[in-house]
């Protein structure tokens, strides 16, 4: 068993016994903060700026041409740990000119925000870079149904993000210029 060692307390010096230097240091800190800019945010009127890698509400995004990027491969539905995602796949008609070379797109895409745990697996697994957890973090609703984000809501939340690939344009170019058969 370890032995208890009693240490002798050092006696206070004269200036320490007056307490004045300590009071002066404290007042200095207080006074300096009075003239610093305000850091308090008037939430919810004011909102903080969210860092780039923040994991907020999952959203669906469109490419700069306004085409939906999701092809309903259902990998996010498969990987989602709390099973919050539910997709109804659908096919794109061949004569849809605005979506040339796109064959498949979701008919319905639902994310249940009561189930979502903001893990970001859906964003990680997406082969088409169509789902992103963006800066929106506060969701509320009066009923359970309101807390299920449907496809329309997800695209509204997601908006458009810069696209480094332009996959469908590449396909079109290949057909127009390249080895089209």
């Amino acid at each position: 068993m370890p032995k208890t060692v009693v240490l002798a307390r050092k006696p206070l010096s004269f200036s320490e016994r007056t307490y004045l230097p300590q009071i002066a240091t404290g007042l200095k800190t207080t006074l300096s903060n009075m003239f610093k800019p305000n850091v308090t945010l008037q939430y919810p009127e004011e909102k903080p700026s969210i860092p780039q890698n923040y994991r907020g509400v999952p959203t669906l995004v469109k490419d700069p041409n306004g085409r939906e990027k999701c092809v309903s491969c259902q990998l996010c539905e498969f990987v989602c740990p709390p099973k919050a995602i539910r997709i109804t796949p659908g096919s794109v008609p061949e004569d849809d000119d605005s979506r040339e070379h796109v064959e498949k797109a979701p008919e319905e895409f639902e994310i249940n925000m009561l189930r979502c745990i903001y893990c970001g697996y859906c964003q990680e697994v997406c082969p088409e870079e169509a789902i992103f957890l963006q800066d929106e973090y506060s969701t509320s609703g009066y009923s359970r149904e309101e807390m299920i984000n449907n496809k329309e809501k997800l695209y509204e939340l997601g908006g458009t993000v810069p696209d480094p690939h332009y996959k469908w344009d590449k396909k079109k170019n290949a057909e127009d210029e390249g080895n089209s058969h």
């Binding site: 491969c73 498969f78 498949k104 390249g178």
Partner: protein, 567 residues
């Protein structure tokens, strides 16, 4: 294709291990017997060998002998020297021969596979996210095993048509096709409908139907099953569900007396597709397109879901007891069905004994296509004979019941899944006759029936069907039944206990099979339901050789009458 051999075996050395394999098989199958996979695309065990994908390249050699003297050439350590063929050979087109040495895995073999994979993937569109084959794709599987992981191909990839319609049920994605020709060989050899072929050369080569023809035979969807990649897709299943969500359970097709073995794929209780399951005694690896559509009846609009007494919904218990009261003490006619399982027919037979009822049965007949759609369009006609429900071959209608109703020989009817008005029974004859209908779907009989008790489809219940070759095939339920419904076996047991209070029969399958196999001359001697479920259980049907079965000679089926006449 595996050539027939008479039980002979040869000894080969597979990866340094001496093994006995059946004579006449090729190296892909021989290796598979010892759980060694030789990757292949174009080879299919039930089709001819084409040898065009080159994926199954392996190293082969034979023990060396001196050409002059015929003496074995020995290594320094005294073992016989192996003369390896300098270039790799394809396993699918190499038949085993005695003393053959094979390397299924070596540096050279792996090198070959990597090279072949790179060539196959040169023009592959890599659209796995939207490809229905993803998850069960041989190209994906072998790309993870032998793929490079990145592409060295800098040129622009080929662009080919992505949704060519080959027929009413098959859509072709040309970009994904690896030109293995399995579909062409299937159409020629199994479906006997030669409609597919390759046109153009080199990277322009594409699969196409012959001019003016379509892939529209009743076996077209088998080409989708055997396609090793996602090139041929089923128009019905296309983009509906990813395969990794599907739960696959074995069952038996109820379309005709061929009794195809099937795999039912469902997600959360909803069936999405039906595919054939290999059984070399019954259906090889094939099934009809029409049989694949049967799953649609499970959730069809006219499905009966609630018991009804006098056109009003009621509880199941009430419906069963009112059914009993409606025919109790009357001259009952029981109309059985060749669509019922063996166990249901057995119980129905007991019910007819307990209620002293007359038994009626009709058959459903159509055209025989000589492959897997037999003329008898009911799965269990032979089960009606074996269960003791009848001893005669059923006619195509129920005119006898109509006569008996008119004569007043019967004045109550219990129908199992048959449409009386469709079977030659006149509506007038049924006036004032209480009809109890036990069936899955609405029809004219269920509309006029006093009591309707819904039953389950073959996907939701368990049972046994006996196919045209007298093979008993047991199956279990593949999807949950609609809420509140009972299988027909249990409904019949309840009716049985109401009619005969001393009846000891329950819906326990092991008990039913015990009773079926207990008579001294029973064809089921020593068999159990588990045996029937495990696989092909051949029943001796020679007792019924004198009946004129309608089936014609077909895949794995020889009509008994022709067998007898040839003797």
């Amino acid at each position: 294709m595996i050539s027939t051999n008479k039980g002979e075996t040869v000894s080969i050395v597979l990866d340094g291990e001496e093994v006995e394999v059946p004579a006449g098989i090729n190296l892909v199958d021989a290796a598979a017997l010892f759980k060694k996979e030789i990757p292949h695309y174009c080879y299919h065990p039930q089709l001819s060998v084409a040898g065009n994908c080159r994926m199954c390249l392996i190293e082969m050699g034979t023990p060396m002998r001196d050409r002059g003297t015929g003496e074995p050439v020995l290594n320094d350590d005294g073992t016989q020297k192996i003369g390896w063929v300098p270039k790799p050979v394809i396993g699918c087109a190499t038949t085993v021969s005695p003393g053959m040495h094979v390397k299924t895995i070596s540096e050279k073999v792996t090198d070959c596979r990597e090279g072949i994979m790179e060539f196959l993937l040169v023009n592959h569109p890599l659209d796995c996210p939207i490809c229905d084959q993803a998850g069960e794709c041989r190209l994906q599987e072998f790309a993870t095993d032998y793929g490079r992981g990145y592409s060295r191909y800098v040129e622009r990839k080929n662009v080919k048509p992505k949704r060519t319609r080959l027929g009413p049920r098959v859509t072709l994605d040309d970009e994904r096709c690896i030109l293995c020709s399995r579909c062409i060989r299937f159409s020629q050899e199994v479906a006997k409908d030669d409609v597919l072929g390759f046109v153009d050369r080199g990277s322009y080569s594409t699969l196409s139907c012959f001019p003016g023809r379509e892939l529209e035979n009743n076996y077209s969807l088998n080409t989708v099953d055997i396609c090793p990649v996602g090139a041929l897709t089923s128009t019905d299943f296309r983009f509906k569900m990813r395969v990794w969500f599907l739960k696959e359970l074995p069952s038996i097709c109820a379309e005709s007396s061929a009794g195809c073995n099937i795999m039912v794929s469902s997600r959360e209780g909803e069936i999405h597709r039906i595919t054939p399951r290999r059984n070399d005694d019954v259906n090889d690896s094939w099934m009809t397109d029409s049989g694949r559509l049967l799953y649609k009846q499970v959730r069809s609009d006219n499905r009966l879901l609630t018991p009804q007494v006098k056109q009003t919904e009621s509880a199941l218990d009430v419906a069963i007891s009112s059914a009993f009261e409606s025919f109790n003490g009357k001259k009952l006619a029981i109309v059985g069905s060749c669509h019922s399982t063996l166990e249901e027919l057995y119980l129905l037979n007991h019910l007819s004994k307990a209620t002293k009822a007359k038994k009626y049965l009709r058959g459903h007949f159509g055209e025989d296509d000589g492959i897997l759609l037999s003329a008898d369009r009911s799965p269990n006609l032979r089960g009606t004979l074996l269960s003791g429900f009848t001893n005669e071959y059923p006619k195509k209608d129920l005119s006898k019941l109509n006569d008996d109703l008119k004569k007043g020989v019967v004045d109550a009817v219990l129908v199992v899944n048959e449409d009386l008005l469709d079977s030659g029974v006149e509506g007038e004859s049924l006036l004032g006759v209480p009809v109890t209908y036990l069936g899955t779907h609405q029809n004219t009989t269920s509309n006029l029936a006093e009591i309707v008790i819904p039953t389950l489809t073959s996907f939701e219940k368990k049972g046994t069907f006996i196919n045209r070759s007298f093979i008993a095939q047991g199956f279990a339920s593949t999807v949950p039944s609609p809420g509140g419904l009972l299988p027909l076996t249990q409904i019949l047991c309840r009716l049985l206990s109401l009619s005969d209070e001393e009846s000891k029969i329950t819906a326990d399958f092991s008990l039913i099979w015990k009773n079926l196999s207990s008579p001294p001359k029973s064809p089921f001697k020593g068999m159990t339901f588990t045996d029937a479920q495990r696989g092909s259980l051949q029943i001796d049907g020679s007792k019924w050789n004198n009946l004129s079965f309608v089936e014609k000679k077909a895949l794995h089926f020889e009509p008994q009458s022709s067998v007898l006449s040839s003797k």
